[in-house]
């Protein structure tokens, strides 16, 4: 399909605005695919990889907005451009977020924001990665702690920022830190969880969401959830912020039990972490996703048990064994002939890796990563950059996930679809509801297809967990209490039907 590029000079818009544009453009008849991105060299490369850079490419500067449209004809492409223009038309004056008494004129720099909010303590930075380190540097120099939501920050910059922060008694959460809970305040994509006595230090955003919501479901609460960024535990960064987070939680009077989660650390960091944990003076549970044993749920249960000074027996399922057997028998009856495989279609990166590890421990031929590539049994993390070129993250908008569900359903080997549904602040207002049309189509096309999901969230989240679970269950989706249990049930279904 031919591709058109349109360039709007010096027209910066944030990524959520650009997602809205993309959505509107893709609704235009005749448009197959559209993207709106700032024309940085990196974004141009992503567009080229996605086949959305017109032949010869457009002449652009990084501050330009590049609109790319794959459409049946030029009229459709022009229609998409017009839709994008309409979406950007300034809306009538609207109330802006801010404090009573703060200026209603929106500050355009950190410095002017500090004049309006002089006792600010933290900068939450979510600008494009190319500029994020510079903004974080400004914030640290102004004496602010930093939560760096942005990804694509070079590791050298991360190390420099973290060293500067430590030298000034400050903290850097991130880069690529999606979630934090500081003294009851949810930052980024966090859930509404009660305050409590379990403190979490996490090198994983959706891992922090899974553990904090499971702790809440078991009747305990969170003192603080500190994100350190996915790379902090690498030997290159040296766990600079994890060490500091552990020290802060050790000193914090509200924290009785400390929970450490992330992907497996580098060897040097692992050795140091072990020594530091021994000196904390508080009980500490650790789980590294993909390290071979345990799960985020078991980590949450162990933290709850330590807080209650009880044991936490390891268990595959929290449902009675007879109930699990019934679920397997009921779902297994409808499945077609072999080959029958599990296909995970995920929004949360750490949850995808956890599911992959559980599949790999129980099933043959599991794809080695979460890119949806070769492997009879496979899990795809659709939050990865390669799937979100100019398109919304699947936690915000289900478009990419609906497409992928259709794609996996069309594959005759798919017997079990495995999903995560993530609630919380910032996430889609009805994530289950927007997946349901794709799930219903999948069930129509493939009678007997088993769909297994978990819902990460709490009753007090804006979406309400019970209502989301009920929506899925009403369509025949098997909703398990955790991601780990959902993945385990999927493997049981695959094994039961392969016999």
């Amino acid at each position: 399909m031919p591709v058109w590029n349109f360039v709007w000079r010096s027209a910066y818009h944030d990524s959520l605005t650009l997602m809205r544009l993309t959505h509107d453009m893709e609704a235009v008849p005749g448009v197959e695919r559209a993207a709106a991105m700032m024309a940085t060299p990196q974004n141009r490369a992503l567009l080229a990889d996605a086949g959305l850079l017109a032949e010869g490419g457009a002449d652009t500067a990084p501050a330009d907005l590049l609109i790319a449209v794959a459409a049946a004809d030029e009229a459709a492409a022009r229609g998409a451009e017009a839709a994008a223009l309409a979406a950007l038309r300034p809306r009538p004056a609207e109330s802006r977020p801010g404090l009573p008494g703060a200026t209603r004129r929106r500050p355009r720099t950190l410095a002017s924001a500090l004049r309006a909010l002089p006792d600010a303590s933290l900068a939450l930075i979510s600008v494009p990665g190319l500029y994020a380190a510079a903004e974080a540097m400004k914030a640290l120099r102004a004496g602010l702690h930093v939560m760096l939501f942005s990804d694509n920050v070079p590791v050298e910059a991360e190390i420099e920022l973290k060293r500067l922060a430590l030298s000034r008694g400050l903290f850097v959460m991130g880069p690529d830190c999606g979630t934090a809970l500081i003294d009851g305040v949810p930052l980024g994509f966090a859930n509404a969880v009660p305050r409590g006595r379990i403190g979490i230090a996490a090198a994983s955003g959706t891992g922090l969401q899974e553990v904090s919501t499971l702790v809440a479901r078991h009747g305990e609460g969170i003192s603080h959830g500190i994100g350190v960024g996915g790379r902090d535990l690498s030997d290159a960064v040296g766990g600079l912020m994890m060490s500091r987070a552990l020290a802060l939680l050790a000193e914090d009077p509200a924290t009785e039990v400390i929970c450490v989660i992330g992907k497996p650390p580098g060897p040097a960091v692992a050795a140091r972490l072990t020594r530091e944990v021994e000196r904390l003076g508080k009980p500490c549970v650790m789980h590294f996703v993909g390290s071979g044993s345990g799960s985020l749920e078991e980590c949450a249960r162990a933290a709850v048990a330590r807080a209650r000074k009880k044991g936490a027996p390891a268990t595959e399922f929290t449902l009675p064994a007879s109930e699990v057997d019934r679920l397997v028998a009921d779902a297994g009856r409808g499945l077609g002939p072999a080959p029958r495989y599990v296909r995970g279609v995920y929004a949360g990166g750490t949850l995808a890796w956890e599911a992959r590890a559980i599949l790999a421990a129980a099933l043959p031929d599991v794809a080695p990563d979460v890119t949806g590539g070769a492997g009879a049994n496979r899990v795809v993390d659709l939050g990865e950059d390669m799937f979100t070129v100019g398109r919304p993250h699947p936690m915000i908008d289900g478009t990419v996930r609906r497409e992928w569900i259709a794609r996996e359903t069309a594959d005759p080997g798919t017997a079990v679809l495995l999903l995560d549904v993530i609630l919380g602040y910032g996430a889609h207002p009805d994530p289950a509801g927007e997946l349901i049309p794709a799930l219903e189509r999948a069930r129509e096309q493939r009678r007997g297809l088993a769909i297994v999901a978990s819902v990460v969230g709490t009753e007090t989240d804006p979406q309400g967990r019970a209502a989301q679970v009920a929506k899925l269950a009403a369509r025949g989706v098997i909703v398990m209490p955790s991601n780990a249990q959902a993945a385990r049930l999927a493997t049981r279904l695959a094994r039961a039907t392969s016999a």
């Binding site: 002017s112 190319l130 949810p186 910032g426």
Partner: protein, 64 residues
């Protein structure tokens, strides 16, 4: 300056407006910065500008 955990954060959000809007709806003191790429979008120039930290050398400087 206070410790990260010394109390509920008061937040300046630079980037996605969604985050400031959420915090304000929860009665958390928060302010959104209507950010634009500095240095005409040249990240190298943006880095140099941050190095100079001109924002803080001239606190009375008006918004640009």
């Amino acid at each position: 300056m206070r410790d990260l955990l010394a109390g509920p954060p008061r937040v300046i959000s630079v980037g996605l407006e969604l985050f400031a809007t959420t915090l304000v709806s929860l009665q958390v003191p928060a302010l959104h910065v209507d950010w634009r790429p500095p240095g005409d979008g040249d990240p190298r120039l943006a880095g140099l500008l941050a190095e100079l930290s001109d924002d803080y050398a001239a606190p009375g400087k008006p918004d640009h």
